[in-house]
Symmetry: C3
Amino acid sequence: MNFETVKVQREGAVLFAEISAPPMNLLGPDLYRDLNSLIHAAEADRAIRVLVFRSTDPDYFISHVDVTRIKELREVVQISGGKSSPALLFHQLSQSRLITIAEIAGRVRGVGSEFVLALDMRFAARGKGIFGQFESAFDVIPGGGAAQHLTRLMGRARALEVMLSVEDYDADLAERYGWINRALPANELGTFVKALAHRIAALPAAGQRTIKDRVNDIALPPADELRRDAELFIEGLRSPDAQHRLAAALAKGFQTREAEMDLPRMLSDLA
Amino acid sequence: MNFETVKVQREGAVLFAEISAPPMNLLGPDLYRDLNSLIHAAEADRAIRVLVFRSTDPDYFISHVDVTRIKELREVVQISGGKSSPALLFHQLSQSRLITIAEIAGRVRGVGSEFVLALDMRFAARGKGIFGQFESAFDVIPGGGAAQHLTRLMGRARALEVMLSVEDYDADLAERYGWINRALPANELGTFVKALAHRIAALPAAGQRTIKDRVNDIALPPADELRRDAELFIEGLRSPDAQHRLAAALAKGFQTREAEMDLPRMLSDLA
Amino acid sequence: MNFETVKVQREGAVLFAEISAPPMNLLGPDLYRDLNSLIHAAEADRAIRVLVFRSTDPDYFISHVDVTRIKELREVVQISGGKSSPALLFHQLSQSRLITIAEIAGRVRGVGSEFVLALDMRFAARGKGIFGQFESAFDVIPGGGAAQHLTRLMGRARALEVMLSVEDYDADLAERYGWINRALPANELGTFVKALAHRIAALPAAGQRTIKDRVNDIALPPADELRRDAELFIEGLRSPDAQHRLAAALAKGFQTREAEMDLPRMLSDLA
């Protein structure tokens, strides 16, 4: 397993996948293609039991979708497995026999947040992990499942706040809201996740599979609802207002490392 | 927009509605009539996008329903829009195109808590906000949606505790239980809510509308369930035991500012 | 009411039931028989309104099912009320007219955790209460409702973490995850629970009953789902792998006080 934008490291039954798509881990056709390949390869290799995602970039885990390449992304999405959206690849991952864990430092915004929301567990570095679901700044609903997951995890009021405020949420607040399992000290996060991953990988698989299936029966958003949100996102993005706002954002530095360090401020005046 | 019991102040697309129904912001026919009018007027004015509720009384946000005027209240409720209960006015607000925020200091008990639970977001002043759902002291279920909202927000055990304990919950505990979005320092609350309201009002409306609809599809209690709780409340209140308890409470100072500062103690011995 | 493994103490309308099944409060046929008898007796005695469970053992509240006596346990379960599993006795308790409270110090693992999850409220001593759902170490899903309750209380990611990690969770983390209502200082827990129990017992019963029914309508796992998890547990336990792991655990001291003080470490290498 060797990928352009994902560095893979294996330790026994645990696969560590480090997202490395400079300059800022945008989810475009390249990273999508590699994530898709990696996920299918890991799924097919019965010696792999646990899949951990992290980032080589200390400031960005996955920044968001590459808005300049959405058309190409959609082509890759369709070629790579007949799915109609990234949300459905993520949904497949939620149902995988693999146990998946996100180890988060840096920014996880937009589709990045939706990717980790589809994983089985999420741990973030206190003072380093930053979460945002900013799609409403472009007049659209999140397209990759955020409304489905956040509402189920944190309830109506907090989910509305998160998606309507277009603000950043630090790891501690993300924990209090239930966005992540736990915020941990930055210097302990790697050790914690590694130990947990190996612990789970050393336990037998059949009971885990049953547990995951039964939990999914209760808590996993239905595929039809994910599909509907993806359609609403695509429809919304076609509107002149959304297109105007995207252009205004790009003119202000959207999709550059520096400008997105404080994305909420940059998005506050696009009209 | 000018109301006897609600002071309205407008800043751009944000409407601040200050509840001001002396002596203690009881929800009776007057406050209900004004809230109903305000909500419909704001809904109809397309220049208004965000509606913030707060109180001019530092000790009481909305104390609870005025138990001495329930018959009049029900008449006003029916005249003002064909609804069968305050719960359904609140439900309408949950579905409104307006984004609604509660800025809470003082006591929010009974139907007051149910009012803010129907809003989109709730922020409270640490050390000042006080929450209570005390209806079981009068042998009835809350009639305005508390059982529906609290159970969905905080789970079975905490919802039962809150409704059966007849205790006050401070803002910090209310945050830990998910009753509110967040407790904030009292001297920062107003600035925080104002900034959030203006931020949301400055963002485009269509995406927000879609997000709110999709979140409601998942998390909003069904109108039939709200109606059923309202019926159970009204039925329960007719029982001799409930009437006896109401009379005993009124004799002990229920519905007076001083006696309700520590309402849980006063309600602990009505039998 | 007098039982071999449960000491009963009555104060007015509150019944305190102290689990006392040396050497470590395993749930075997004896404790099950006594809990079942106690619950039915309390249910039948209309003078009893609130039932509080605690333990005489400072280290163990209920350790877990006695794996050496599962066959006998199943016989007792069937004799004592036509139920097919402990999960359904617990489910009956969730629907009881009695208000039930767990006062937790010591270890609450496996079916012990599932027992308290079926009660109406759970409070634990900070630094003393320890929670674990370790069934996946034996390649099985929890059989007494944990997957149903934990997923509804804490969401998908935390429920998966808890059931797949086979780790202990202290009272503070259990509160943050929503496993319990609240963690309280160890020296205040008894006073707090006693006051709450008497407060609830002094309030009228009809409204409480309505509230509990309405909350159950929303949040209680369906009996069929509990039954299904119980079947999956029993099926899973019959597998050679599960039997081998049980034997390996027993050889390492499973079901002894000392070895279970740090059960997660002991279970980490059974293969």
